[in-house]
Amino acid sequence: MSDAPPRTPTDWSGERMQRRIARRYRAERRFRLLGLAAIALSAAFLLVLLGSMLTRGIGGFTETRIALPLDLAAAKLAVDPARLKGRGADLALADAGLEEAVDAAANAAWPTLGGAALLSDGAWLRVRGAVEADPTLLVRRATVEVPVASAIDIACKGDGTPEAEAIVRALGDQLSRGFNRDFLTAADSTDPTRVGIWGALKGSLMTMFVTIALAFPVGVLAALYLEEYAPRNRWTDLIEVSINNLAAVPSIIFGLLGLAVFLGTFGLPRSAAIVGGLTLALMTMPVIVIAGRNAIRAVPPSIRDAALGVGASPVQVVFHHVLPLALPGILTGTIIGVARALGETAPLLLIGMRAFIAAPPDRLTDPATVLPVQVFLWSDEVNRGFVEKTSAAIVVLLVLLLAMNGIAIYLRNRFETRW
């Protein structure tokens, strides 16, 4: 090497070097700008989504009411006052012909504008509630606020047909706007002014309950066994590949599986939350297993050594040390899996959860529907009153998802270990 020419000293301030430095700085700036642009784009999409859902959906939480002058004394309802107390009251008033009396009152009040057609199908139920709260309504004149028919409601919110808008103008300040409490307590209906989200929300919560109750323990135990106990051989490799593939299987296929196995083989009831939950659990479990294994693998081996070194048994090592340390990661994976299941529609359609269910489910085996399916069903309706209900249902679904993510973040921070 002695005959090679000596290296010239590096010229750090030369022009070539300066150009290199400038190029490096440009690359840094470019990369930062690209990152910022990506963040800004996603934030903008999110804002547009949330903004449009909220502006459209907010109407779904309100209703238009009309002041209906009532003279039930004149209608001569034959009601036994003793029956107005307690459980029989609903039936007593329905038997007495309250619905007809309410229609008659509307026909008398607005004979030219459409009469009873102005009122929602559920208007008389509101009157019934008022009578049960205050039985003196049966013997005196009074005004009760009742919800209007869907067409009038839409016109009042500024998007109606010309005829309906003419009626709204004629009614003037007899109309008022209020919070639609029924939307949060009722279930599906054919009349958009009477629908509620509670049925679908309750169905979603029950389905989630089944999914979590099944997928979480099974997924975590499977992850623990595979990471801590199973030997590394061809069989465990096969299981690992299968689980990874399972996580990538399209959800509708899980629906077909649920249909064949839970409905076909086991004969569980159609449309039930338990079947939906079981089907979604099949879908969620691989996600939990994969996330769980990663979280368990991230627990430093020195902790296992330390526990074994003081004489902890393998089960004690797992439950006293590994699992608590892996829990934040497992929970994050679980929430991601469950959130995906919560928004799932396709597999539930196949097991019959798209049925029209007018009563909230009480048991896991009752026919039920879930929020995304409800959104799907309402978006398919011809009646224009369902447009804002669809958006309102989406808002409820998003709020539920946000709440779940909030819980996940809370739990994660709670159990997080600082090293």
């Binding site: 030997p231 590394r232 430093p300 020195s302 902790i303 296992r304 050594d305 330390a306 526990a307 074994l308 070194g309 003081v310 004489g311 902890a312 048994s313 004690q316 006293h320 040390h321 340390l325 270990t417 600082r418 090293w419």
Partner: protein, 256 residues
Amino acid sequence: MRDNKPPKMTAEHVDVFYGDHQAIRDVSIHIPQEEVTAFIGPSGCGKSTFLRTLNRMNDTVTSARVTGDIRLDGENIYAREMDVVQLRARVGMVFQKPNPFPKSIYENVAYGPRIHGLARGRADLDRIVEESLVRAGLWSEVKDRLADSGTALSGGQQQRLCIARAIAVDPEVILMDEPCSALDPVATARIEELIHELRGRYAIVIVTHNMQQAARVSQRTAFFHLGQLVEYGDTSDIFTNPREERTRDYITGRYG
């Protein structure tokens, strides 16, 4: 070699394999009671591997296979009826990197006695924790913050916490796998002092890369090379008058 007391642990013709690779070849050694035995040797010579066979920590490595005969007080520790959990309670271990549990200082020390049911009630457990921390020379530094996380301590304190954790289950033998290699000289000096104080109660086996440390803390020294036990004897003999050429070369720094 002084043989006035029966050895605490004996190993006869021990071989250790990792898969097809033989890490330990035909090692026979007697670990005396109430003394410190140092294992020295160049990296990869198998001294840590051999140490881990003494409380069967190698069981966690699926490919590892141990043959030969290792006895604790005459009991074969690789026998079928030997309970590994109890063995590890009797033969405690301190690792190279301080590895306290990410729990409070109190919980770190109380964990062993708790899982083995060594304490009768809360007061008894408090006493064991205090006694262990005192013996590990950590009590005065942590007595006011037992609820703080063990991982918030300094490296040297963490290692003493690990020693306290090991002695809390009242072991008969303590294995130390390069306990000072991650510590600064001051912390190292404290641990060495501690080893001095502990040796009256336990048989201690320490693996070390540091020849001065071996000379300072141990009464017996074993020199390992390429998986074999080259020489074993009183520390003073090994360091001043080794019988084997390889030992002399290693101690005088010709390789390693």
